[in-house]
């Protein structure tokens, strides 16, 4: 018989123990595969959502003077790293006649065939337009008009009226990133020719490759442009969505990393128990002449085999779970499911990782088992953890804490990127778990004092059992600490970030109706100013309108940094739609009336601007100095914004037009304004949306993102629960002899079950408290880390609901995890239980 045979015999004799060890690896690998896939699905969902909301990520090249320019003036940009496509755009307001319907629509000229083949324009039906008398229509518009592929429409252009054939219907979502509200898509050369604007374009939109850093591409593109052209992030685009999604991506990284850490604890604990339980047997092998190396090899070979089996099962279960999880996340994000995309390396890497983690986790207990004094190993009493181990653990905990705080400080000073918060958060959590053995015992003793007197004996025994095995119970608790900390920390961080964004949105956009500019954003040009003023007057004269505020948007630059210049009427009768940092509303309002500006906190962070500084702002090629009165919390274009009054913007930058009109209705008149506003909107090529629609739209993004994060957090909790259930099962198996002894001395079966459940719940409660402290610290860490991103501190609010839900979940999980194995243990024949080695 070889030692391998001994392993097989041990598994056959105690299949529960071997199964539990393999199950721990299965849970860990399954969790890794499922979390990874779910996080991937979330990222893809976020991407689709961003594209649906804000279009694909882009950079615009425009003329400094805001006019059209000749496309040939633009150097080759397609080879810039991070550029996916370079798309010249030409917009033309026109009239469309379909049967008896005459519609004022905006046409956009692009290379339709190239866009379709690059996957940047999706046709619901038909094919791209190729000839001079062909065009593609927005599918939603076409459906409304009853137009299908092959039908003809009359197109009114500057040079001529053309009868054009509809060759394809474009999916509305896929138009968003470039059409700017245009519903007619034609070949750019055809549209230019029909508009007598040969070779001229309004802008060149550069589509970024997936994962490309916008700032880096922007710098590279800017470096190639001639003086007359400028590259910027498109002004006024829905960067709110991008910001929410950026934070969500950070959250996803965090959750994924923590789930993996939790998986490691689960395996580590299972392996520790698996070895610790066989301490006597392993010591006996050494007494009989087995070397320490042989024993270590026995344990690690076992870990590799069980790890391999567990990892294969876990990968299969993880893959099976990935489909429904991804579909659920897609539903939460209200995007079409993109199918489960599993990286070909994911499964082999997960299986290899499972084996490596299992072997690594078994190595330490194997070392402990072989360095144990032989007599101590042969004794029936469990060994106390060596003092050096405890000292080492304390040292590790302190080093981890120092590393986590050093990371945070490095991020605060800009030495490390905000993404490093994922690493520092995980390191901090590991530190908490390393501290757990030192806090756990006093906490358990303290909590033991609250056990009702009718369970006094069970309570005392439960505390004694936990105290006897501080390292092992700390590892079991560690799984719960991670799960609770995850739930509380990220729960708070997510809610606080979302509240910050929604609070800003509610302040910024207080109106019943919102009219937004469709088309070529030529609104920024001075020549559109008169028309937009006339329109604002038209709206203001409508019966039932209490107030109209115009907002102009233009791209600008401060100290070489791109920014969005926002010009608002800021009526005196309405609350200030800005949240100043370290300044009063009255002071800010007074400063804005004097013609000064306020800067978004992110812009201030990037450019080093402070309240009271004078900044030189470049808009439409004109450089103008302006005083920064204060900093404000703002999420427009990622917070890189400069806000001032419209009269000042007109005077300083020539910003005449309003891109957005916020219409506040008189009390009870909001609904009645829809039709007259619709008429004005159509006649000025603008979109009309109710505040409810916009709010619903934002809520949809936020709730989708939050929902997907919660579902992955929930997945983490399920993994943690499975891990706890597994380790508690192993712990009960190990205690079978002690439990048998208790029954032998007269304890009833119910009492024994109560003892095991109580033991588990005390552990759950203590871990919950440590997890609570860890979670709140994690939330503070995340918020501290977001400061460089947002430029302002996020207010942290303790949310009792989140805390109580997590603590109750921890208690419920531990109670349930203990109840089933305890019931099984007490059903065991007394003699059999007593003879358990």
């Amino acid at each position: 018989m070889r030692l391998r045979g001994l392993l097989v015999r041990q598994w056959m004799r105690r299949p529960g123990r071997a199964l539990a060890a393999a199950a721990s690896v299965a849970v860990a690998v399954g969790a890794a595969v499922a979390t990874w896939t779910a996080a991937d699905a979330s990222r893809q969902g976020f991407q689709r959502l961003t594209e649906a909301v804000a279009g694909v990520p882009t950079i615009d090249v425009t003329a400094r003077d805001g006019q059209r320019f000749v496309a040939t003036a633009v150097p080759r940009l397609v080879d810039v790293p991070g550029v996916r496509a370079v798309v010249p755009l030409f917009y033309r307001p026109s009239l469309l006649r379909v049967g008896e319907n005459r519609l004022r629509e905006v046409a956009v000229g692009v290379d339709v065939e190239a866009l379709v083949s690059a996957g940047l324009l999706a046709l619901e039906s038909g094919e791209p337009c190729r000839e001079d008398d062909e065009l593609v229509l927005d599918a939603t518009l076409a459906k409304g008009l009853g137009v299908t592929v092959g039908d003809e429409v009359l197109f009114f252009a500057r040079r001529r009226i053309a009868r054009m054939r509809v060759t394809g219907l474009a999916a509305t979502n896929s138009l968003r990133w470039f059409a700017e509200g245009a519903t007619v898509v034609a070949d750019i050369q055809v549209l230019e020719s029909m508009s007598l604007s040969t070779a001229e374009v309004d802008r060149i939109r550069i589509v970024l490759a997936p994962g490309a850093a916008r700032e880096e591409v922007l710098t590279a593109v800017s470096g190639r442009l001639p003086e007359a052209l400028v590259a910027d992030v498109p002004a006024g685009r829905a960067s709110l969505a991008e910001d929410v999604l950026h934070s969500a991506n950070l959250g996803l990284d965090f959750v994924t990393a923590l789930t993996l850490a939790m998986a490691w604890f689960i395996v580590g604990n299972a392996m520790l128990m698996n070895v610790a339980e066989r301490r006597r047997g392993l010591s006996l092998i050494r007494v009989l002449g087995g070397t320490a190396r042989q024993v270590r090899r026995l344990v690690t070979v076992e870990a590799a085999i069980l790890g391999g089996i567990g990892a294969a099962v876990g990968a299969a279960v993880g893959l099976a779970a990935a489909g429904p999880i991804s579909a659920g996340i897609s539903r939460a994000l209200q995007t079409s499911a993109g199918g489960v995309a599993v990286h070909p390396l994911l499964v082999p890497v997960a299986v290899a990782l499972g084996i490596v983690i299992a072997v690594a986790a078994a190595w330490w207990p194997a070392r402990q088992a072989t360095s144990l004094d032989l007599l101590e190993g042969l004794s029936a009493l469990p060994a106390e953890p060596p003092r050096e181990s405890m000292r080492g653990l304390l040292l590790a905990a302190m080093v981890l804490t120092a590393v986590a705080f050093a990371c945070e400080l490095a991020m605060a000073f800009g030495i490390l990127p905000p993404r490093a918060s994922v690493v520092s958060g995980v390191v901090l959590l590991l530190a908490f778990v390393a501290f757990t053995p030192f806090f756990l015992i006093p906490l358990v003793r303290f909590l033991g004092g609250f056990v009702p007197s009718r369970w006094r004996i069970e309570g005392r025994l439960a505390v004694a059992q936990i105290v006897r095995q501080p390292i092992r119970t700390a590892l079991t608790a560690g799984v719960l600490v991670v799960a609770v900390s995850n739930g509380i920390g990220l729960g708070h961080a997510i809610r606080d970030s979302v509240d910050d964004v929604l609070g800003w949105y509610a302040r910024m956009l207080k109106a019943d109706w919102v009219l937004t500019q469709a088309g070529a954003l030529s609104v920024s040009r001075q020549d559109r100013g008169a028309a937009s003023r006339a329109m604002q007057d038209d709206v203001g004269r409508l019966d039932g309108v209490a107030d109209v505020e115009g907002i102009g948007v233009a791209t600008g630059r401060i100290s070489g940094q791109a920014c969005v210049v926002i010009a608002r009427d800021l009526p005196a009768g309405l609350p200030l739609p800005l949240a100043p940092v370290d300044a009063t509303e009255a002071d800010v309002r007074a400063a804005l009336e004097r013609g000064e500006a306020v800067a978004g906190t992110v812009l201030a962070q990037r450019t080093g601007l402070k309240a009271g500084d004078a900044a030189v702002v470049e808009v439409f090629g004109r450089k103008t100095p302006i005083r920064i009165a204060a900093l404000v919390v703002d999420y427009t274009s990622g917070g890189a914004s400069l806000v001032l009054r419209r009269d000042a913007a007109r005077r300083l930058f020539g910003m005449e037009a309003a891109d957005v009109l916020l219409v506040t209705a008189a009390e009870g008149r909001a609904a009645s304004l829809r039709d007259p506003l619709e008429v004005i909107a159509r006649s000025h090529s603008m979109f009309l949306r109710s505040y409810g629609d916009l709010r619903g739209f934002i809520d949809r993004i936020v709730s989708g993102v939050v929902g997907s994060l919660w579902s992955i957090l929930g997945l983490g909790f399920v993994v943690g629960s499975l891990g706890v259930a597994n380790t508690v099962t192993m712990s009960v198996l190990e205690q079978q002899r002690s439990l048998g002894l208790l029954r032998a001395v007269g304890m009833r079966r119910g009492q024994v079950v109560g003892l095991v459940v109580l033991q588990s719940m005390l552990l759950g409660a203590a871990a919950g408290i440590i997890g609570l402290v860890s979670g709140v610290t994690t939330a503070l860490f995340i918020q501290f880390a977001s400061q460089p991103l947002l430029g302002h501190p996020l207010a942290m609010h303790i949310r009792p609901g989140v805390v109580i839900a997590n603590l109750l979940a921890a208690l419920a999980v531990t109670a349930l995890a203990a109840w089933l194995p305890a019931r099984r243990a007490v059903k065991l024949d007394l003699l059999e239980a007593l003879s358990t080695e």
Binding site: M1, L6, R9, Q10, G281, G290, L374
Partner: protein, 246 residues
């Protein structure tokens, strides 16, 4: 079994196992307090001797046995097995000595519950890398020597205490060790089984010239040995011929 490779053959000493001023001190419950379990023991055991070590609880007899078997290292002094000082050996070499030159018998038998009796007996050989076939042959022979060859396929929990202990003795003998060390081998047995185990050990000494050192607090068991070493407070109080000495 021969000496493990790397051990230089020495001239056979007059005693197979001896100690020189052997001491063992343990840390007590209080960090300051040290307990001297064995204090300056000098002992010499010749080949084929059957020695019983007796004494009251806490007299240091089991600690002495553990040091003789290389299970625990002395605080001071030397243990010489066939002329080799066990204190000079590293862990792996000591494991090899335990595997090849020493046979252990414990009070609680210490058979691995997941293995059959035959597999338990062959375990020291398996640990030494002996082929399965040779392991089985040797194990069967050892079981036959203790009269347990018919129970080889049974697991320990299917055997009585006496049978388990005889199996444990077979395991101790399977490598043909220089010395068999037995720690209270009859402590968990009834008188009938106790008597059978003692007779078995006597037979081994008589027929195979096997050196046996046995720790017991049972005067009846001690009386079966050829020599009785009585310990008190960690020291040898008396060293005399037993009742069975020829």
């Amino acid at each position: 079994m021969p000496w493990p490779p790397g051990f230089h053959a020495m001239q056979t000493p007059p005693s197979i196992l001896s100690t020189e001023r052997l001491e063992k001190t343990f840390a007590g419950g209080d960090a300051e307090a040290m307990v001297a379990a064995v204090r300056g023991v000098n002992l010499s055991v010749g080949r084929g001797e059957f020695v019983a070590v007796t004494g009251a609880s806490g007299s240091g007899k089991s600690t002495l046995l553990h040091m003789l078997g290389g299970i625990t290292r002395p605080t001071a002094g030397r243990v010489l097995l066939e002329g080799v000082d066990l204190a000079t050996l590293d862990d792996d070499a000591l494991a090899a000595i335990r595997r090849r030159r020493i046979g252990f018998v414990f009070q609680r038998y210490n058979l691995l519950p997941e293995l059959s009796l035959l597999e338990n007996v062959s375990l020291p050989l398996a640990l030494d890398g002996v082929t399965p076939a040779r392991c089985e042959t040797a194990a069967r022979a050892a079981l036959e020597a203790v009269g347990m060859d018919h129970r080889g396929s049974h697991r320990p929990d299917e055997l009585s205490g006496g049978e388990q202990q005889r199996g444990a003795i077979a395991r101790a003998l399977v490598t043909d060790p220089a010395v068999v060390l037995a720690d209270e081998p009859t402590g968990a047995l009834d008188s009938a089984n106790s008597s059978r185990v003692v007779q078995l050990l006597q037979r081994l000494v008589a027929e195979r010239q096997q050196t046996v050192i046995l720790v017991t607090h049972d005067p009846a068991v001690a009386a079966a040995a050829g020599r009785v070493v009585r310990m008190r407070d960690g020291q040898v109080e008396s060293d005399s011929a037993g009742n069975s000495r020829p």
